[in-house]
Amino acid sequence: MSLFLIVALPFLGALLPGLMNSAGRQACAGITFTVSLAAFIGLLTNAPAVFSGEVVQAGVDWLPALGMNFTLMLDGLGFFFALLILGIGLLIITYGRFYLSREDNMGEFFTYLLLFQGAMVGIVLSDNILLLLVFWELTSLSSFLLIGYWKHLPEGRQGARMALTVTGMGGLAMVGGMLILGQIAGSYDLSVILQNRELIQESPLYLPALLLILLGCFTKSAQFPFHFWLPHAMAAPTPVSAYLHSATMVKAGIFLMARMWPVLSGTPEWFGIVTTAGLVTMVLGAVIAVFKHDLKALLAFSTVSHLGLITMLLGTGTAFGAMAAVFHILNHATFKAALFMSAGIVDHEAHTRDIRRLGGLRHLMPITFVIATIAALSMAGIPLLNGFLSKEMMLEEAHHTVLFGSHWLVPALAVVGSLFSAAYSFRLIAHTFLGPKRNDYPATPHDPGPGMWLPPAILVVLVVVIGVAPFLAEPFVKMVTASVLGDAAAVPKAYFKIWHGLVPALFMSMAAVAGGLLLLAAFRPALRFWDAAPRPEAKTIFEALIASVVAAAQGFTHRLHNGAFSRYGAIMAVTVIAAGYFAWTTGTVGAATREMQPAGPVPIAGWVMLVAATSALVFQHRNRLLSLILIGIAGLMVSVGFVFFSAPDLAMTQITVEVVTIILLLLALNFLPNHTPVESDVLRRTRDAVVALAGGLATMALSFHYLMRDAITTPISEFHLANSYKGGGGTNVVNVILVDFRGFDTYGEIIVLGIAALLIYALTETLLSGPVRARLLNRKPDKPLAGDMHPTMMVVLTRVIMPVVLMVGFYIFLRGHNEPGGGFIAGLVVSIAVVMQYMASGFSWTSARLKYPYHGVIGAGVLIAGLTGIGSWFVAKPFLTSDFTYVRIPPFQEFELATAALFDLGVFLAVVGAVMLSLESFSRLARRAHVRDSEHPMDIDPSRDDPDTAEGRA
């Protein structure tokens, strides 16, 4: 099966459990199982190729310019991990089906689980390290969702947050490390990076890259000092703990260290950091685990310890160490997942996981007892079980490892770690299952159905088979080891066997087991000593750290961001002016290449009006109504300027927009105060004036500078002028640019306009459904209303004029392609015609006569424009390719038909809809209670034949 499909199946399948939720728990789990099984079988179809030493590859270019490609590869290491992820996944899904209770949302659970599975498979199959990072972050996210699955439990939420913080930060560090690594190697493809050992290790950037990548690995794989999140992640449902936090996700860091082993390992830095971290984690985790009373906490710390063991083995940098690490990954996954599932069974049946409340369960749960005991003995390192084999290899490797110049440091600590490891394994068996039967369990325990015990039982069978016949696993482990080592080292010759003779590792192992038994015997005094000893609580430290970071960030933000908009505006303006000034003074200024054109009296008159209106606006802005008139003059002068400087389309647009904007501001002023009081002192006003004058001078200088010079290169407009008629079929180049050359921009713009109008509508709805509604309804107008609300003259005039205006709009629309006009302008003209009806005849009268809601008009416009664009796909052209032809229908002259006109129709409708929806929303605010909105448009005598109004008067 294609590697793409193997990665994609869990992601696609993640949609199904949610859909199947109502079909019952069985169907929901069944579909999840089927999806996983399909991916698992797909993986197995690639097994022959992998076993023959091939690297299966698949890839498509994604963003080749950034070196980011969707390339996947499957070698021995990837196959091994994918096998663990999908294989154990199948067991976990079966187990989870019976573990979750009826109250739990099973669809949600399996959706998250499949998301996680897909992300994890993605990590181990990625060839491109940027792609790997994407999957890496996805595992952190899905793990967050799974840990917090029981949303009602505060521990779950806190644990999820802690896990996300720690692994997320590590992920960020790793992004940096991977980018550096890619820079050194010149490629982001693992297949290339892994070939460049010398290049990478000699680079001065090797150390930062190593540190950052290790930070990512250590946080993910819970290595000291980042180990503390894992025990808190145990608030998750047990299937999650067994799957993510023992068998797969926490091994992602280990996987990456193994993956990068050929290029990163073997240096003193690698050896020092990785071995030490692993060793410390191994011992610390084991010691803490012995004294944990919660079964899952004990297993969590034991997982931390075993991850440390594997890390240490990878740190030694020898081929034998790497092989031992691979073997222990396999063994640990089998016995630890079985143990977690057993702990889950105990919790499920006895309703407690507290070891102090358990004991004697062997009589009540014989099957669970057998499974858990075998798995725990394997964890303790007892011969004939698989844990023994890899632990022997670890001790053998430790025996040869020299750390900090000491020959005994690593072996001694390895023995201590193994001793405590044996102790907690024995304690798990003795204090849970052995001893007398009690009569105070929270619930009477009994063995669960096969759905729950079969998955761990399958794993335990593996534990025994590998333990008794290690030669069965040997070829597989060596194949994986070969792909870990790459070209950096040869696979060691050592054979996997139970009896190696009287080697030092055997004595170390015996010492560890004996010590473990002794510690168990002396458990009570040891526990008293432990409880009396002071030790830091990682969670408290973590929370204090987070709180201080948040406090610092808030202090910083609040100082900068104090909520004073006017201050931000001033800072922004000054910064822009300063930056512009800097660029101006440091750049080179060429001589003027254009002559100044002479100005006649008309432009000067227009300039005087514009400057006068603007200045008056600044000085008179406290009178808000007056300032509206003044800004109208400024806008009018700008439109006139456009006419003068050969831009008829712009002038038409500007003047129509001006009209609707002024109406809009008038509507708003209806509610806002009519005067702006004096609040700022003279100093402040002087400061603002200085900033404003500086900004004005700067823009003036800049504009004058470039107006006096020609463009450095030929403007691209030559192309538009040359092709407008030939290619676009229109002589109005501006319109052809809008609907053809840059049609996609225009399409985006009408969408933005539509969104703006919908936003205004939504805000109006919110206002009218909240507490403001009552205030609006009972509002008293602050100034007397006009005596005749609907002046007869205006009503008559607007009605007469309406068809004329519509005709003008239609004309402007049609001629747009060749003469000034087009959809934008026509839309605005038609909007003004409709607005006039609202103004003259009243809101109700007009609303009652409008057939189509404005949202629909916006939608139709965007849809028509979009469909026009899509239409070009049917003739195998890119989106929005236009076409035109000339037709002649007899009585008329020959005329042009262009698809661009259809697009322009979309623009037209969107503009009409957006403008009208905005203005209508504002008008809706103005309606008041007790004032009936008369159906009668003219103020002749509204009560004459309106019974409601007549009654109200009487």
Binding site: E679, T699, R742, L767, P771, V911
Partner: protein, 118 residues
């Protein structure tokens, strides 16, 4: 003529910035509108000033003004209407909800937005 246009842009910008720095919503909206004019004219002028040569193709005419800035400014004008309308709506909603049309938060209110630190 170039000087007239450049100084007009300058005057519109100066007026816009001054009004933008006022303390109430309405003058700020007017200031932003003035800045919009300034920016639109500035962009338009980047095609340089040409009198009497609109970009409407005609037989026998060789000189046309630059059409591209015009097309860009045309959509900018329409979008600026949308923007103004949204800002006005927000200002209006804020005023109706709190009976206060100041643009700045009251001094000392920063950080007391009810959000928990954790």
């Amino acid at each position: 003529m170039e000087f007239l246009v450049a100084s007009a842009i300058g005057v519109l910008t100066a007026g816009g910035i001054y009004l933008m720095l006022r303390l109430r919503t309405f003058p700020v909206i007017l200031g932003i509108s003035l800045l919009t004019y300034a920016v639109n004219v500035f962009l338009f002028a980047s095609g340089r000033l040409t009198v009497g040569a609109p970009p409407i193709l005609q037989k026998g005419v060789e000189t046309y003004t630059d059409p591209l800035p015009q097309a860009l400014v045309l959509t900018a004008i329409v979008i600026s209407f949308g923007m103004t309308a949204v800002v006005v709506m927000i200002a209006l909603g804020a005023y109706l909800g709190s009976d206060d049309d100041h643009v700045d938060d009251p001094a000392g209110s920063a950080g007391s937005d009810g959000r928990d630190a954790t």
